[in-house]
C-alpha cells in the first residue's frame, strides 16, 4: 500500500481540465505549500506585476507566474529561470502588442546561459529541441500557461493562430557553452560572463540545415543564406532570423576566423533575393507601410533580407550534439530585443524544500 494516491491525483488533474486551465496536457494541481516553495526561490514580492496587456486589462504577477510554472510541471528551483524568461519576453516589442493573439501563433525561443543550466539539468546538447528533459519542457510550457491563464489568451477566442507551430511552448534550450567556440549568447546580449541569464524571442518556425558536405566556411554559410532567404517567411521589407548552430558548424566557422560578428556580417550581405524572384511570388512591392505586395514594376536587383548585421536581426546561438553538421534556422517573429536577463535566484541555502 502506497501513500501516493493516484485516484486523488487524477481527480485533481481533471478538475484543472474542467476549469479550462490546461493547454491540453495534464497539469500539476498547485496547492499553497507548493506555491510557497516556488516563491521562496526568488526575492520578489508575490504581487509584483511582471506583465500587463492594456487591451484586456489583465496582469501577470510573480505569484500567478509561480502557480502556472507549478502547473506546467516545473520544479520550484526552475522558477527564477521562468521569471527571467518571462522578463526577457516582455522586452520583445511584439509581446506587449498583439503578438500572443496573432494569426502567426508565434512561439517563444528561450536560451539559457551560465551555471544554472547544469544545475537544473537544462539540456543544451543532443536533442536540444526536445523532448526528453523536464527543465526544457516545463520552463517553456510555463510561459504558455501564463499567457493562457493569466492573460486569458486561449486558442479560438483571443488567440487566433491560423495553424500555430509544432513545439510552440517547449523551445527552451541551454546554450552548449562547453562546445561553443564563441562567447556565450548572454555575454553578447550584455550580461557578465559566468552570470546565468536568459535570452528570448518569438519564432514563427524553424528549419534545419544539414551540411556535412563541405569544409569551406563560405560554402557552409551560403547554405544557411539559402535557407534563411526563402520567400515564404519574408513578408515585410526586411525580415529577422536566427541560427542555432550545432557545435560542428560553429567550430568550423570559428576555425576559419568567423566570430559571431563576422558570421552576421557575412549573412547580412548574402541573405536576400533578386527582385525578380520576389516578383515571381508577389512580394516585390515595397509599400509605405513596410508590408510587401505584388507590384511587378521594380527593376531587377538584390533585396537584402536582413535590415542590418545587428544581433536584433540575427540571433546566433550554439546548441546540440557534436555528432553531425545539423543546425537550425529559426524564423524570428518581429525582431529580437538583443538583451539577456540575469537569473535572480535567492541564495540556495535559503531555499526551502
Amino acid at each position: 500500500m502506497s501513500d501516493l494516491d493516484p485516484d486523488a491525483a487524477q481527480a485533481a488533474i481533471e478538475h484543472c481540465y474542467e476549469q479550462g486551465w490546461s493547454d491540453g496536457l495534464p497539469v500539476v494541481p498547485v496547492s499553497q505549500p507548493l506555491l510557497e516553495r516556488f516563491l521562496a526561490t526568488v526575492d520578489r514580492a508575490p504581487d509584483e506585476v511582471i506583465g500587463h496587456l492594456p487591451q484586456f486589462d489583465r496582469s501577470v504577477t510573480v505569484e500567478l507566474a509561480a502557480i502556472n510554472a507549478g502547473m506546467a510541471g516545473c520544479r520550484p528551483e526552475y522558477f527564477p529561470v521562468v521569471l527571467a524568461a518571462w522578463d526577457a519576453l516582455v522586452l520583445e516589442r511584439s509581446t506587449g502588442g498583439g503578438g500572443w493573439q496573432s494569426t502567426s501563433g508565434p512561439a517563444p525561443l528561450i536560451v539559457v546561459n551560465g551555471p544554472v543550466a547544469a544545475e537544473l539539468g537544462i539540456n543544451g546538447a543532443g536533442g536540444v529541441f526536445g523532448p526528453g528533459f523536464r527543465a526544457n519542457m516545463t520552463i517553456g510550457r510555463a510561459i504558455g500557461l501564463i499567457v493562457r491563464n493569466a492573460y486569458g489568451i486561449r486558442p479560438h477566442v483571443l488567440e487566433q493562430a491560423t495553424q500555430g507551430l509544432p513545439g510552440r511552448w517547449t523551445m527552451c534550450i541551454a546554450e552548449n557553452e562547453a562546445e561553443s567556440p564563441w562567447e556565450p549568447l548572454s555575454v553578447e546580449a550584455g550580461v557578465e560572463p559566468g552570470v546565468s541569464a536568459v535570452s528570448a524571442t518569438l519564432l514563427r518556425t524553424s528549419e534545419f540545415v544539414d551540411n556535412r558536405h563541405t569544409s569551406s566556411a563560405e560554402q557552409l554559410l551560403a547554405d544557411f543564406a539559402d535557407t534563411i532567404s526563402r520567400t515564404g517567411a519574408w513578408i515585410f521589407r526586411n525580415a529577422s532570423a536566427g541560427v542555432v548552430f550545432c557545435p560542428e558548424h560553429a567550430q568550423m566557422l570559428a576555425a576559419a576566423g568567423f566570430g559571431r560578428a563576422e558570421v552576421r556580417a557575412w549573412l547580412a550581405e548574402h541573405c536576400g533575393r533578386m527582385v525578380s524572384d520576389l516578383a515571381a511570388v508577389g512580394k516585390d512591392g515595397l509599400g509605405e507601410k513596410g508590408v510587401r505586395h505584388a507590384d511587378g514594376t521594380r527593376p531587377d536587383g538584390f533585396d537584402p533580407l536582413l535590415a542590418s548585421a545587428e544581433p536584433k536581426n540575427l540571433l546566433l546561438a550554439v546548441a546540440g550534439a557534436r555528432n553531425a553538421g545539423i543546425s537550425m534556422v529559426v524564423r524570428i517573429f518581429s525582431d529580437w530585443s538583443g538583451r539577456a536577463v540575469p537569473v535572480r535566484a535567492r541564495e540556495r541555502a535559503e531555499v526551502g524544500t
Partner: protein, 182 residues
C-alpha cells in the same frame, strides 16, 4: 481537509454585465454629418474606409470626411488623445479593418470606447475574426456589440474589389450609425 487547488488566472469572479455598455445616441440619418475615419494600417483598410466615407457623402448626405487618422499600434486600444480628437471633431466614426488576430478585437474595443464617449461608431471586421471580436466585446462589458463584417480575406483584394466591398457594406454602416440600426 486537503489543500485547495490554486486558480492560475488571477480573476476574481465578476458579475456578468447585464445592462451592456453605454451606446451613443443616434441621429435619424447622416444628413450633414461630419465623418471620421480611423484606419488600423491593415492592408486595404485605408482604401475601404475612404470608399465608405466617400459613399456616405455622395449617397447619404454626410457633410464630408473631416478627420482621417491611422492607428499605429493596431493591437492596442486607441490612445485617449486620439479618441478625444474624433469625439471633438466628428459626428460619427468608422474604424477597421479588423483583419488580424489582435486588431479585430482591438477595433471592437475602440468602438465600445467611442460609444461611451458619445460618438456613434461603425466597426468593420473580417468575418474570419468574429469570435475574437465578440470575446473582446464581452470583456469590455458590451456583450453582443454590433459591428459590420465583410468576407475574409481583405488584404489581397484589388482596388476595384475593395470598392465593391464598400458598396456592399455601406448599408450596414449606415444602419450602425443611425436610428435605423437601433
Amino acid at each position: 481537509m486537503p489543500n485547495a487547488i490554486l486558480d492560475p488566472t488571477g480573476r476574481a469572479p465578476v458579475p456578468r454585465e447585464t445592462t451592456g455598455a453605454p451606446r451613443a445616441a443616434r441621429r435619424p440619418d447622416l444628413t450633414g454629418a461630419r465623418i471620421g475615419l480611423l484606419e488600423n494600417t491593415k492592408h486595404n483598410a485605408d482604401l475601404l474606409l475612404d470608399e465608405l466615407g466617400a459613399r456616405l457623402v455622395a449617397e447619404h448626405g454626410a457633410a464630408e470626411v473631416v478627420l482621417r487618422r491611422t492607428k499605429r499600434a493596431f493591437a492596442l486600444p486607441a490612445p485617449d488623445e486620439l479618441v478625444a480628437e474624433f469625439v471633438d471633431g466628428c459626428d460619427v466614426v468608422i474604424t477597421g479593418v479588423g483583419d488580424c488576430g489582435s486588431c479585430s478585437a482591438s477595433a471592437v474595443a475602440d468602438g465600445v470606447v467611442f460609444e461611451a464617449a458619445g460618438l456613434p461608431a461603425a466597426v468593420i471586421c473580417s468575418d474570419a475574426f468574429v469570435t475574437t471580436a465578440d470575446a473582446m466585446a464581452e470583456l469590455r462589458g458590451a456583450p453582443g456589440y454590433a459591428y459590420a463584417t465583410t468576407a475574409h480575406p481583405v488584404a489581397v483584394l484589388s482596388r476595384e474589389q475593395v470598392a465593391e466591398r464598400a458598396e456592399h457594406l455601406v448599408a450596414a454602416v449606415v444602419a450602425l450609425l443611425t436610428d435605423a440600426g437601433a
